[in-house]
């Protein structure tokens, strides 16, 4: 997976570049999830351990437990580096803080979008999401916030619905102004 490598660098889990706590967290989560799969998920959701149908799940769960344990041990043996307090950069901190707020907002927006598609349909949900995210990202021009979503959604509508013939979801609320025109097509949500 060289495509994802960062300049070919490799960092051992016990490398002390501030990753010890993260390594321990990953190890604990890995062990916990591995045991959960072995003790609960395989017997209840697949079948008795040892049957052919559980082979893949067993490999995955045992692997999680073993590699989680090795990672935990390796991280535990590393002494945390003390002394150096991280350098503070006021402007950098502000940027990072605003970035984190934006990222959390984007995640919340994406979750709401996924559910809003089902209820209010593709066009209203996408318009609101796009306008909301533009505001979240710091776009302050009212014209752009109002017009850019229209342009993007028009392109998607023409490409997907008209061009490819794939109906976009109209939502459970079935907006009369969308359905009467027949522009959106049939709904395709799973119940």
């Amino acid at each position: 997976m060289g495509d994802d490598q960062k300049n070919g660098s490799s960092r051992h889990p016990t490398d002390m570049s501030g990753g010890r706590d993260k390594d321990l967290a990953v190890a604990v989560a890995s062990l916990a999830f591995g045991f959960l799969v072995l003790a609960v998920l395989i017997p209840q959701s697949i079948g008795p351990i040892g049957s052919n149908t559980t082979i893949l799940a067993l490999i995955g769960a045992v692997g999680l437990v073993v590699f989680g344990a090795v990672l935990g041990l390796a991280a535990y043996r590393v002494r945390p580096v003390g002394g150096d307090s991280p350098k503070t950069d006021a402007s950098g901190d502000a940027v990072r803080k605003s970035g984190k707020v934006q990222a959390v907002g984007l995640v919340i927006g994406a979750v709401i979008y996924a559910w809003a598609l089902e209820w209010i349909g593709f066009l209203p949900a996408s318009y609101l999401t796009l306008a909301g995210l533009l505001l979240l990202m710091g776009v302050r021009s009212v014209l752009i916030v109002l017009v850019l979503p229209v342009v993007v959604l028009l392109a998607i509508y023409l490409g997907i619905d008209v061009g490819l013939g794939a109906s976009l979801p109209e939502g459970r609320l079935e907006w009369p102004f969308l359905t009467q025109s027949g522009a959106i097509g049939t709904e395709h949500f799973h119940v």
Partner: protein, 504 residues
């Protein structure tokens, strides 16, 4: 062979496919040139749309997109010192100094020339090598194939993230996610929790878009916010420098050697275009009589990484089409596209659809030849193209992600799956786990399961079947050796890091 190539050519070289390649090149080069988007993300966004088109046209478009995105990355690397794709990071080392000297246009043309030559050499190797390798692969039994997949998973895990152990944990997670759905042999429900949509397992494309595209956007915003800093030190205007024949002749040896390095790296699962680009750059610097010029605007420093990273494309398809194993993330996405169109890569594909496979190779070759047609105009408008601020780009991509996840199966459940995997991918990135290793394990695990169960059935439950034959035993030994080597390498890196810190 010539008859086969003629049949494949008649299949590949149609007007529709040529248009597909051109559209793909344009999309790929444009998206690849935008910092924050890479080729894999571009392909992942386009794959759902291809569901509605003819398979060969779709594959032509995706091949063009893949090739175009790799070249597109070099435009911003040279003009703005901001690699559009990670593969182009090495290109910026000498490309941007050339731009600062007023020779950016020359550097872009050299990058284009080296990209085309590197890609053609790699594709010719693909044409020649894939047949014999797939013939050999047909001799593999279930046990050998299971061990080969196991070896590939360990190899990919070792190089996919920042640590081998974390790569392996990501791989195990991918294996567990692959369990969800109906058992491939008994159709028994596994970990579906009575959700009907999960009977078929998680949708690969929704996963791809979530793990690769949306999670990357969340991560980029988390790290720096969607500010206007798309460019860095943007140059004022394009120069009129020209690439001369003497300069091409001077770089020919470097381009050829880098192409061979890139082809070799591409054929190995787990070694991708980034490694190839840096290896190519290093060999150019070490073999140069004036290594001190590198890093200060040396034209061969642009040619070498571009030839190497483009040469990865063709040879990266060798393990895919011959063994059904995607050796890199981009190839895994391409494999996902094949599967969407009902094409299952592997040795049988080379037997049953030989013309189709060679048509695909020819389309790859065609995309190399057509790349200059798309790239040259792009060079001229490159600076305007890359100046799209992330604050406009990212919200649009979020909605495109939702549209892409929905449109393949017209299922809103897939949109939720996409968002779920985006959050998982983001969390994994924050903890230095590898979403790429997870994804490749998710793709390979069902195949591995079938082979393991077939082998156990044949051997009546004897586990020794996995080391009984020389091939299976060889793969098992190589897997153990790989574990040992990567653990040793990690320990050594850790000690060096500890020594360096104590010295400070």
């Amino acid at each position: 062979m010539f008859e086969l190539l003629a049949d494949a050519a008649s299949l590949a070289f149609t007007i529709e496919n040529v248009i597909g390649v051109l559209i793909g090149l344009m999309l790929g080069a444009t998206l690849g040139a935008i910092p924050g988007l890479n080729g894999t993300m571009a392909i992942a966004l386009i794959v759902p749309l291809t569901y509605f088109w003819q398979p060969l046209f779709s594959i032509a478009l995706l091949m063009g997109c893949w090739k175009g995105s790799i070249y597109g990355g070099s435009i911003t690397a040279i003009l703005l010192n901001t690699p559009g794709t990670p593969e182009a990071a090495a290109t910026a080392i000498d490309g941007f100094p050339l731009q600062q000297k007023g020779q950016g246009r020359k550097a872009l043309h050299m990058a284009l020339f080296a990209s085309v030559v590197g890609a053609i050499i790699s594709d010719v190797l693909l044409l020649g090598a894939s047949g014999p390798i797939s013939t050999l692969a047909l001799k593999f039994g279930p046990a050998e194939l299971a061990m080969l997949i196991l070896f590939s998973l360990v190899l990919v895990a070792g190089t996919g993230g920042e640590s081998h152990l974390k790569g392996l944990i990501s791989t195990m997670l991918g294996i567990l996610i692959a369990v969800v759905g109906l058992d491939p042999m008994t159709a028994q429900r596994r970990m579906t929790f009575d959700i009907l949509e999960l009977d078929g397992g998680f949708d690969l494309l929704a996963m791809l878009i979530g793990l690769l595209v949306l999670s990357e956007i969340i991560n980029q915003i988390w790290e720096g916010g969607a500010r206007d800093d798309y460019a860095g030190d943007a140059p004022k205007g394009l120069d009129r420098s020209r690439l001369t024949f003497a300069e091409i002749k001077d770089s020919a040896g470097v381009i050829f050697r880098s192409s061979m390095i890139g082809s070799f790296c591409g054929a190995l699962p787990g070694v991708g275009a980034i490694t190839a680009a840096f290896l190519g750059y290093d060999q150019a610097r070490m073999s140069s009589p004036t290594p001190e010029k590198f890093g200060k605007g040396e034209l061969r420093g642009v040619a070498a990484p571009e030839a190497a990273n483009n040469a990865v494309c063709g040879s990266a398809l060798i393990p895919l089409v011959t063994l059904g194993i995607p050796g890199s993330l981009s190839v895994a996405v391409i494999m996902g596209a094949f599967m969407v169109h009902g094409v299952s890569p592997g040795p049988m594909l080379m037997i049953e659809h030989r013309e189709l496979v060679y048509a695909l190779f020819l389309l790859l070759l065609l995309s190399d030849i057509l790349l200059p047609l798309v790239a040259l105009p792009l060079v001229a408008v490159g600076q305007r193209l890359v100046a799209i601020p992330k604050k406009y780009l990212f919200p649009v991509i979020v909605v495109l992600c939702g549209t892409g996840a929905y449109s393949t199966h017209q299922s809103l459940f897939d949109v939720k799956v996409m968002v779920g995997f985006a959050i998982l991918g983001f969390v994994m990135k924050r903890f230095q786990l590898s979403p790429a290793a997870l994804l490749i394990a998710f793709i390979l695990a069902p195949m591995a399961e079938i082979y393991i169960r077939q082998a156990l059935r044949i051997s009546r439950g004897e586990l020794s079947v996995f080391v009984a034959s020389p091939l299976a035993g060889g793969f098992a030994l190589a897997t153990v050796a790989l574990f040992g080597w990567s653990y040793y390498r990690g320990r050594r890196a850790s000690r060096q890091s500890a020594h360096a810190r104590s010295a400070e």
